[in-house]
Symmetry: C2
Subunit: 505 residues, 2 copies
């Protein structure tokens, strides 16, 4: 740090004599500029930043990047930590595998975003491997390949607010051989590798010494997982191999086969049945083989073993390339963190409706690494009742709800969804539905709302949700001070006053 | 091969009864079409091809691709064998390292070229590892990664004509540690790897735990070799790191250093001195450090050791990324082939002026794997004299040369170059130069031409030369029959008649 000795000394002087208020002001004002210099010049966030709240963002996927883009309040100092120094437009990954879209066209350097910020922002290409909530710091290590000379670098970054947006990893369900032999489709590199492998398969199948049987094996492309990712990839792969590559390898067209394996009864089972039917028809038309009720139990370099639900038998499927798209799981660092904060029995990090990690202070989680653990109405039914029952009469008339109805609907969005499903005009209609204008006691109230929580749904782990959460959280951060003074959220049923922000929708 | 049993059986039937001349004709005619089907459908070149001369092209660089593109005579059946199924426009590789040009934009799939051919042509993605001149076949093995399941495939391809255009490999001069630690700049993958490494260096240098000294090391980019490749890469790298990357990593600009190491006294020593001076000035202006007389003796993961010619001392240079661009060497398969045909003391394959490999029949070599071993005038001086001396008088008058002068100049291009250098109008001027109209005997003739061979120069190993040789050879192949009947080349001084083709210029 010798190079910055002047700034360092200046900063230290201020630190050593904090009782000099005039110098303090001077340094705080001019120090703003200095801090920026020091900061980008690798000084750790020093004393100059004392007024700036340190926001650390882990991850540069949809959630992290959309948060970073949305953040505008210059009173924060932002550190982004991610092993990827770019954001990638993941919905186009299948198109990259097929060469329709160039990898470069779907990535955006994070440093381009960082440098446009009007406030103190920096990026570090590293992986967070531990979150220390006690000392409010994250432990990071480098991910650059070792060939640069020098081993793994470790460092820590302090935070006041931590935004966890590390995404998820592909979930192999511990199926043996998947990591070694199958391709995932999470990163740009995955897409490029798949593209190269498909072409390698065609080249190898073109060789004169390859037997008919082996040629069929090599040109059998298997996609595991009938979710949107697997289905879309299978369709794109079909266009690639049957249209583009067939022109270059006309003699191989007859050998090419694509199979999609799905353990459940249907592909796209989270969507409307009409969508499933449409996809199944398209697959049939394109000659993509669809095998449902077929659970992969093992993958070797040449074969996939499945357990067939209908027969209970194990089937061996020779293949050339296998793409694994069965869903997502938590990253090890997130699992460790969950253990640490007592969220042991969950698949992903649980947050409240404001994206705050349950059981933590000033830690937010969004995107694929988290789910919103929506509060059930039943859990709070007594509190809701008592908040409405201002005079503690033990019974409520419909009119008593007037004051709290909007807060209930905002705090418990399942109420609205339930009303919609039942085709009721509003909450009053639900209450009135049973008896005209009657008084309602707590038991009655419970009965009326008993079905409401059935409408609670986890948000899907999609790019869209992650991006919306990022924007939402950035907006909250931007208006933190305003909303602390003038809370705009719903009534706190369990506490007093109102929530600072509207919950995430 | 069950799928083609009809064609196979047909072909075999013909093979088993070669004494049936009528069937022979039938099968040869209709077999032309069948052969194309069989061929693209992986049948080895069968009996149907009996009339087609099999041309095997090894390599898909400038020489091989330009030969393939130029070949138009449909009487050949062409097999291209190369570990790369694309041609890459290598002069743009430095631009790919810097992201100015996308890798995809500089490659062309060989199969695109192959499929446009109006004759029987096929490509095999494999590496030739042995040339068998006795049985006229090349031995090949696959290069696809093993993750496709199944090991290395081996096969042979028969040839009537073999075109060796396998290029060269980077020459490390056996300097320890180069292969392990330095980057080359031969292939598209090299360029992409260099690009990633440069960015890795910047990301690593951005980390807070990196010391000043280490930061300087990581951002020290060393280019070894002051030829055109090294000089151009250093200049492109300068623009990349000092212009593009400086914007994304403003705090690192001051640490970035580029050094070019050259063992000789000058960079670009094969060019005009003015070009060298221009490049040196540009380097000085850009702040690229140029160290001449500095020979690299060892490369480790962090340091380059050089022996300094001026002091004799060894200097240790810490570096972050090293690009090795010191020139080219022969590939192992070419070295083996050279041994096999008795070309032991040469750096690359020697061919005659018609690109035919010396000591072989129907084997051609072009591009970086070969040099034209130009015939010296002195070697043939007696023959030249006797061809001119038609009446065997033992002396020649200037007029006697009239008939052979053009042939001499075409066969020995150094004669023309020598005349140009001496600013003589023509060959007669050289002869007349000594004594007016005198008779010239063999000794006198020798003396007059003694300096001519000093003008023999090897062609540089450039893309341009390789491409020109490819076109030239394709043109020869296209006109093989015509030129056999009507040779267009110069007089055969050692033999009788004329050469079929003009020699390569």
């Amino acid at each position: 740090m010798r190079g910055y000795s002047f700034f360092q000394r200046a900063s230290r002087a201020f630190n050593d004599y904090p009782h000099l208020p005039k110098i303090l002001v001077l340094f705080t004002v001019s120090g703003g500029g200095l801090a920026a210099v020091c900061h980008t010049a690798f000084a750790d966030a020093g004393q100059d930043d004392i007024k700036k709240k340190k926001v650390v963002v882990l991850g540069t996927g949809w959630a992290g990047t959309s948060f970073l883009k949305g953040l505008k309040d210059p009173s924060y100092s932002v550190q982004v930590v991610s092993p990827r120094n770019y954001f990638s437009f993941t919905p186009l990954l299948p198109s990259v595998t097929c060469g329709t879209v160039e990898a470069r066209s779907i990535v955006e350097p994070i440093r381009n975003i960082v440098k446009k910020k009007n406030f103190d922002a920096d990026f570090k290409e590293a992986e967070c491997y531990k979150i220390d909530t006690v000392n409010k710091k994250v432990h990071c290590k480098t991910t650059q390949p070792s060939h640069l000379g020098g081993g793994i670098e470790e460092f820590t970054v302090d935070y006041d607010y931590l935004v966890i947006a590390m995404g998820a990893r592909a979930n192999t369900f511990n199926t043996p051989g998947v990591v070694e032999n199958a391709h995932f489709l999470k990163e740009v590199e995955d897409a490029q590798r798949i593209r190269r492998t498909v072409i390698d398969c065609f080249e190898r199948a073109s060789l004169p010494s390859i037997s008919e049987e082996e040629r069929k094996r090599i040109l059998h492309f298997v996609v595991v997982g009938g979710g949107p990712a697997g289905v879309e990839f299978a369709a794109e792969l079909h266009d690639f191999v049957k249209e583009d590559l067939a022109k270059l390898y006309p003699a191989l067209k007859q050998y090419v086969k694509i199979t999609l394996l799905e353990a459940g009864d249907n592909i796209l089972n989270m969507f409307d049945k009409r969508i499933t039917a449409f996809a199944e028809e398209k697959f049939a038309r394109d000659g993509i083989q669809l095998k449902t009720g077929s659970m992969v139990v093992k993958v070797t370099g040449r074969d996939i073993s499945t357990k067939e639900r209908s027969t209970g038998q194990t089937v061996i499927i020779p293949y050339g390339m296998c793409v694994w798209a069965t869903g997502i799981g938590s990253r090890p660092v997130v699992m460790d963190f969950m253990k640490q904060i007592g969220q042991t029995n969950r698949r992903v990090l649980a947050t409240d409706e404001w994206l705050r990690v349950e059981g933590c202070n000033e830690i937010y989680a969004l995107g694929d690494c988290a789910t919103i653990n929506q509060r059930s109405v039943m859990e709070d039914i007594a509190i809701i009742f008592s908040k409405a029952d201002k005079n503690n009469s033990g019974t409520l008339r419909v009119d008593d709800f007037k004051e709290v109805i909007n807060d209930i609907c905002e705090r418990y969005p399942q109420v609205d969804l339930y009303l919609k499903k039942k085709q009721l005009k509003n909450f009053n209609a639900l209450l009135k539905n049973s008896e005209e204008d009657a008084e309602i006691n707590i038991e009655k109230f419970k009965t009326l709302l008993a079905q409401v929580d059935s409408q609670m749904k986890n948000l899907p782990a999609t790019a869209q949700v992650a991006a919306q959460q990022g924007s939402y959280l950035a907006d909250c951060f931007n208006r933190m001070k305003i909303c602390e003074a003038n809370p705009e959220g719903p009534m706190r049923f369990r506490g007093t006053g109102r929530h600072r922000f509207h919950p995430f929708r």
